[in-house]
Amino acid sequence: MTHLETELQQLKSELLTMWGLVASQMSKSLEALVNNDKELASEVVITEKRINSFELKIDRDCENIIALYNPVAVDLRFVLAVMKINTNIERIGDIARSTAKFVVKSTSSYDQYILEKTRLLEIYEEACDLVEDSRESFEKENPDIARKIFMRDELLDEINKGAPKVIAEIIRDNPANIEQCLDILSTIRRLERSGDQCKNIAEEIIFYIEAKVLKHLPKSQKRNS
């Protein structure tokens, strides 16, 4: 194995560790929300700093590899993809922290009726799965898993699209829940955004493995290209 290959392996390993941590942050923030577990939510908020450190370290490692090893072809695509995936994963980490912050400051558990009507838990679970699956796609260098993400993101879009109307109805029926409703709407929007981040990541994985640029293509073309 060349020196560069060792560096790239190490970079991959670092990114996967960070990715695993973000996946764990996502599932913990969901658990904290369901159980109104403030302690777990606080843990998520604090752990976010570790993710930020990972991001900085990976950025610096990418910069060093480009400067010192002049990677080309698949190696260059790998480093470029890692840089972008790194940014996207860090943002997903921010989303987990934001949800956890709501739990920390909330005065009561989330109303089960609102959770069901808004499909918050459904979108949350799907968002967590997308993070896990994109990680698996990267780890196994499997672009087929990445391609499926383009389709699955549609569920997140659908729930997000319907949420304002559902929330408006709930607020009309029970204005006392307005604060909780706004938190949930905000969370749904963020989770929809995490789906977009996973789509971006999937594009980068395909770019790295197959040298295909899928950015800004319609979904149907992304799936089939």
Binding site: T2, E5, P71, V72, A73, V74, L76, A211
Partner: protein, 250 residues
Amino acid sequence: MYKLRSENVNVHYGDFHAIKDVSLDVEKNSVTAFIGPSGCGKSTFLRLYNRMNDYIEGFKKTGKIYFDDVEIYDSKIHIEGLRKKIGMVFQKPNPFPKSIYENVVYGLRIQGMKNKKMLDEVVENSLKRVALWDEVKDDLKKSAFALSGGQQQRLCIARTLAVEPSVLLMDEPTSALDPISTAKLEELIYELKQNFTIIIVTHNMQQAARISDKTAFFYLGELVELNDTKEIFTNPKKERTQNYITGRFG
């Protein structure tokens, strides 16, 4: 428009099959880099263009090579005339043991040019083209050996340019130079391609990436891949090319 074309070229040195059925076209006013491990045939192929291999024992070539649509291995071709049109720069600077001025005008003197004013003009223009004029204009009578390695190499290019070739063949022209001289020569190659067709053999992959428009990867006498340099270095089509440029060869 292609300046040089090759069709199914094979080269043997005795029993050794050095070039295997290579077809390769070179565009006018472009830089093409030949890359590949030692012994892959890239220098042999470069030297075919001005028939430098002709005198090597056991050399045998089949296939066709065209320069401006004229077959250069045709029996009617005048080799010295061909080399005037297709100049060569070697790995190690090889100035003659003469003054800077005499090095530049050497080819013209052999051709019988005696007009001092014209020779002076050629010297100035050639040295300006290689960005050496400002550095040596007050010392033209100084021995060429007094110049630095980078200056000597630029002088050798000026000497080649003085006879007005249209193609420049460069066989690892910077491998004996320091990084500053290398950078100057790379800038020069970039400038020269406006008026010349350049083919460069290099072991420095980053150099190939920086200065060439097209890159040809040779391996064991075969042309594995020829493509735009940007494609070769970002998305090579052949696995052997990828393995070579990423250092995973063998």
